[in-house]
């Protein structure tokens, strides 16, 4: 059980003792913050004493009498360290005058307790203050974590954008200085590599825009019934047209149409990402098999390749942002590291799932399930919860 510190500042010994007794066995349970809290009470007789003790070891909740022998409670309030969220002050006042209340609030008091009060009234005020304080702290913690994640994302993004720039810059300098000898072929190769890296950079920027649009819910969704087999047929044709090097056999398998209420563009992104990965990580003369089926309310897309495959550890990391599996087999294969996180986000908007089965040097099969999108939904989360509720 966690403990919150309470300090009671009052020149009447009876009052201090009363607070101590009222809070001795008092615990607060806060489901929003998780956990039970008890209270440990410290005492101060004067405002001066209180300020000294607070500087040393600030409590979480300060119960501050207004009328004190030396400086007043209001004076104490205005001299408190400005450490927002660290401590909440409850003013205790015998004559609950409006003036005192207004001044105290201006100086940062959170609540009031009018003298005389019953132990229950005291506990009520303390419970309310504790709840406020803990929720505030939790919100701040979450905001901080979010900032950290964001910062991490931006740093990696900057690195991913700078790498192709460094490569292109390096090649251009060599070409300018002619430092690769006399064979024009070497320079042509450098120009080709530069173009490839720039293309990779463009893909990263486009992926990033896709991801941002999906996450922010800004993208206008046009939900209508579509045949996923039809969408897949186009994606397969695009992949066949783009495969100049590997001589792959890319085939679509479906027993019949697979109707789905969806945004066509979103399902295209899912299919294009999965198929382009299957092409990119495949071997020479390999196969890509795209299978679409509909069972009840679920459309299943599976994309199987005969490529390099991956280890179980790599499979675990695969769907995180900017995860690219780096090893000798993937060297030289370009990718933004965002494709699968985009697919995962989209799939979750259709109450679906994504999974992978893979064996090194044999191949990988990615399987995605999609359910009808609801027409009025505007963001991923709403639909996801709607779909989960349907399951139950």
């Amino acid at each position: 059980m966690d403990t919150l510190g309470v300090m009671v500042v009052d020149d009447e010994a009876g009052m201090r003792l009363g607070v101590q007794r009222a809070l001795r066995d008092f615990t607060v349970r806060l489901p929003d913050v998780e956990g039970d809290f008890r209270f440990e009470v410290a005492q101060a007789e004067t405002g001066e004493q209180a300020l000294e003790a607070i500087a040393e070891n600030p409590p979480d909740i300060l119960l501050l009498d207004h009328k004190l022998p030396g400086i007043s409670g209001l004076d104490v309030l205005s001299r408190l360290p400005e450490d927002e969220g660290r401590m909440l002050t409850v003013m205790i006042t015998a004559y609950a005058s409006l003036d005192t209340a207004i001044t105290a609030t201006k100086r940062g008091a959170y609540d009031f307790l009018a003298k005389p009060f019953t132990p229950d009234e005291l506990r009520g005020v303390v419970r309310k203050a504790a709840k406020h304080l803990l929720i505030q702290r939790q919100a701040r913690r979450l905001a901080e974590e979010k900032r950290q994640v964001r910062f991490q994302f931006i740093s990696v993004l900057a690195h991913e954008l700078k790498s192709p720039l460094s490569a292109v810059e390096g090649y251009l300098r060599i070409i300018r200085d002619g430092s690769a000898g006399d064979d024009p072929e070497s320079y042509n190769h450098m120009l080709d590599r530069s173009l490839t890296r720039l293309e990779g950079m463009r893909k990263l920027i486009l992926d990033l825009l896709d991801l941002t649009r999906i996450e922010s819910g800004q993208k206008q969704r046009d939900i209508a019934e579509q045949d996923v087999v039809e969408i897949a047929r186009e994606a397969v044709e695009t992949a066949r047209a783009g495969d100049e090097e590997k001589n792959l056999t890319i085939e679509l398998h479906a027993d019949g149409p697979a109707p789905l209420k969806c945004d066509r563009g979103e399902v295209e992104i899912v299919l294009n990402n999965l198929i382009s990965n299957a092409v990119k990580y495949n071997r020479q003369d390999g196969r890509v098999d795209v299978t679409i089926s509909r069972d009840g309310d679920t459309v299943t897309i599976s994309v199987a390749d005969t490529g390099i495959g991956m280890s179980p550890e790599d499979q675990d990391r695969l769907f995180r942002e900017f995860t690219r599996i780096k090893n000798e087999k993937t060297r030289g294969i370009l990718g933004s590291g965002l494709g699968l996180s985009i697919v995962r986000k989209l799939v979750s908007m259709y109450g679906g799932d994504i999974g992978v089965q893979s064996e090194p040097d044999v191949g990988s099969t990615f399987t995605v399930t999609l359910r009808d999108a609801s027409e009025q939904a505007d963001g991923g989360d709403n639909q996801q919860s709607a779909a989960t509720a349907d399951d139950a």
Binding site: K162, S166, A167, G170, I174, S179, M190
Partner: protein, 127 residues
């Protein structure tokens, strides 16, 4: 003319840096990860190492530099880093006996010719 080992996970930067080093008559060996570099150095110790920082992990290069310094204190290392630019830390990385035991640090982005000159410097100093 010397044997230089290039360690970087970017195929193009390896190609660029090895082009300029070869144009100056050096023999160039390459490793695309710290792990691969360990294996190569085990087989044969080069005359100088050009080492990138971010590879398998964000600090793979730092760790390898310390390790190499323990095993081969005579082996000169040139460290390539874009960490300063990427993180905005308020200091530049400089060689340090304990935590960054390298001869030189070259901040990215750099001209490949500058890299080749640094490597020549490194080799001259370690003669």
């Amino acid at each position: 003319m010397a044997n230089v080992l290039l360690i970087d996970d970017d195929v193009d930067l390896i190609a660029i840096n090895s082009t300029v080093l070869k144009s100056r008559g050096h023999e160039v060996a390459v490793a695309y990860s710290a792990a691969e570099a360990r294996r190569r150095i085990e087989e044969s110790v080069p005359d100088a190492v050009v080492l990138d920082v971010m590879m398998e992990t964000q600090t793979a290069g730092f760790e390898l530099a310390r390790e190499l310094n323990q095993k081969h204190p005579e082996l000169p290392i040139l460290l390539l880093t874009g960490v300063h630019e990427a993180t905005g830390v308020p200091f530049k990385f400089e060689p340090d006996e304990t935590w960054l035991p390298v001869v030189e640090v070259l901040e990215k982005p750099f001209d490949p010719t500058a890299l080749a000159e640094k490597v020549d410097d490194l080799l001259k100093r370690s003669e």
